[in-house]
């Protein structure tokens, strides 16, 4: 029952990130870039397994040249 409240979000380590911008190419629905090329990650949770948003988040994680991205499980605040 507890698992219902858990959702996934994409997170970035701001120190590792060097603004390559690959994440915005690979996951445009989740990541937008600011005027300096650094990612702004949307705070809406990713969808369930096999959803498009989770799939593109995984691509962004794998495609990050600095390995600064990860997908994190969070308790959803109700």
């Amino acid at each position: 029952m507890k698992r219902r409240n858990e959702t996934l979000i994409l997170r970035a380590d701001p120190i590792l990130c060097d603004g390559f911008g690959h994440c915005a190419e690979l996951a445009p629905e989740i990541v937008t870039l600011d005027e300096w090329g650094y990612p702004i990650i949307s705070t809406t949770p990713l969808g369930a397994a096999r959803s498009t948003s989770l799939r593109s988040a995984q691509l962004a994680v794998r495609g990050c040249p600095r390995q600064a991205l990860w997908i994190e499980k969070v308790e959803q605040r109700s």
Binding site: D13, P14, I15, C17, G19, D34, E35, W36, Y38, I40
Partner: protein, 425 residues
């Protein structure tokens, strides 16, 4: 004469031309006794961290007590990177022994083997005071723990707790990214308790007189006294010890400041501007929260009617942008860009209208995207300036800057360091 009988000053008791010696200190306060229930007593006293975040000291200490490690550290954060704050300096030049009492008591309570006192290496007087105090203690007998004085470079960001611990661990004053909160900082594998100098001094008093004595002044939600550094439109910048909940007007009057100011900067250079009408508000976190402000590090900068808030904000933001550790993109590029737009707005030239729009856009984008809270502080400052000085901003943007634009200098800002002068280790 016993301190328990009078109310204020507390931590500044015995202020004189020289810091108290160990003997004088014990005449004033009596010998420090170790108490087993220190953390419970701290919990009941409601003491919160005086470095800015106002986190309950007992909760943080209990978190560290529950860590199982062979070695633990207690860090006294006397870096005081805020240019407008002088409370740690004042405390060190009045009574460094009180700070040591607090640090040693906390070390005993959490089972720490090391106490590290961190003072910016530029502040040689303060280093002297602490060295003398530690030496006096060591001459009397063993302290039971290793007490060391460390001197990191005195940059604004060096006082941020994760940057400070990073320096102790690896000689770099760069903040660390801590994704989960609350996080426990560590030197190697040894967990670290970081508290502000003033917090340690309050612990040194609660140790002796107890929680009820501590709560006898202040408000219910924020009990006790605090040190405030008043600067700006004052005859002379001062550090005062006040009971929390004292109306700001009384603080200003006691400091000899302008009691009908245009605006006040509260908290620090990552703090908030409030309108001059806020002088009737009591100085306590829970009562300042509706104004979006907080006590922060106890900084009050008074801006008189003859000042330009936009210019002041620009000066502070430009300096804060330069103090960035340049680790995270939004801070390294965003803050200078924000400061640049503020500069255009302050001058009120042909770029001013676009600059105002850009400031609004950029300050909305940067918040919460750095490893530490440095960019968030600057954004908070800029956004509060835009709401408090909204009319001024509009007039600047329309090309009619106020009479004091460009040369209003009430908030003291150090010289900007050049890129090649930046020292991180």
């Amino acid at each position: 004469m016993s301190i328990a009988t009078h109310t204020l000053p507390r931590v500044l008791t015995g202020a004189g031309p020289r810091p108290l010696t160990l003997q004088q200190h014990e005449e004033f306060f009596g010998p420090a006794r170790m108490r087993r229930d220190l953390l419970d007593e701290l919990g009941r006293s409601g003491l919160t961290g005086r470095g800015g975040a106002a986190f309950p000291t007992a909760v943080k200490a209990a978190l560290l007590r529950d860590q199982h490690a062979r070695k633990k550290f207690v860090v006294v954060n006397a870096m005081e990177g805020e240019p407008a704050a002088h409370k740690d300096y004042t405390l060190a030049s009045v009574n460094p022994h009180l700070v040591l009492d607090g640090a040693l008591a906390l070390a005993g309570a959490i089972g720490a083997s090391h106490v590290a006192i961190c003072v910016a290496r530029e502040k040689t007087v303060m280093i002297n005071h602490f060295e003398r105090a530690v030496h006096e203690r060591e001459r009397r007998g063993s302290l039971g723990v290793t007490v060391e004085i460390h001197t990191p470079p005195g940059r604004y960001i060096a006082g941020e707790e994760s940057a400070l611990v990073h320096w102790l661990d690896d000689n770099e004053t760069l903040p660390q990214f801590r994704p989960e909160r609350p996080s426990i900082l560590s030197i190697g594998r040894a967990p670290v308790l970081v508290d502000n100098t003033e917090t340690h001094a309050h612990v040194g008093l609660i140790l002796r007189y107890g929680a009820d004595w501590f709560r006898s002044i202040g408000t219910t939600a924020s009990p006790g006294s605090t040190l405030v550094s008043v600067s700006g439109a004052v005859a002379r910048p001062v550090v005062l010890e006040i009971a929390l909940g004292t109306p700001i007007r009384e603080i200003l009057a006691a400091a000899g400041a302008d009691t009908a100011p245009r605006a006040l900067l509260l908290g620090g250079y990552g703090g908030t501007f409030v309108d001059g009408s806020a002088v009737s508000t009591p100085y306590a976190n829970e009562l300042l929260r509706p104004l979006g402000a907080s006590v922060g590090a106890g900084v009050i900068v008074v801006l008189p009617q003859q000042s330009c808030g936009i210019t002041e904000t620009f000066n502070i933001a430009r300096w804060m942008a330069n103090e960035s550790a340049r680790q995270c993109g939004p801070c390294a590029f965003g803050l200078p860009a924000l400061a640049e737009s503020l500069g255009h707005l302050a001058v009120g030239g042909r770029d001013a209208k676009d600059a105002l729009a850009l400031i609004r856009e950029r300050s909305g984008v940067i918040n919460g995207r750095g490893a530490c809270r440095h960019p968030d502080g600057v954004v908070r400052l800029v956004q509060s300036a835009l709401s408090v000085f909204a009319d001024d901003a509009e007039r600047h943007a329309a090309g009619h800057p106020c009479a004091h634009a460009g040369h209003s200098r009430f908030a003291s800002v150090p010289r900007l360091e050049l890129e090649h002068e930046l020292v991180w280790e």
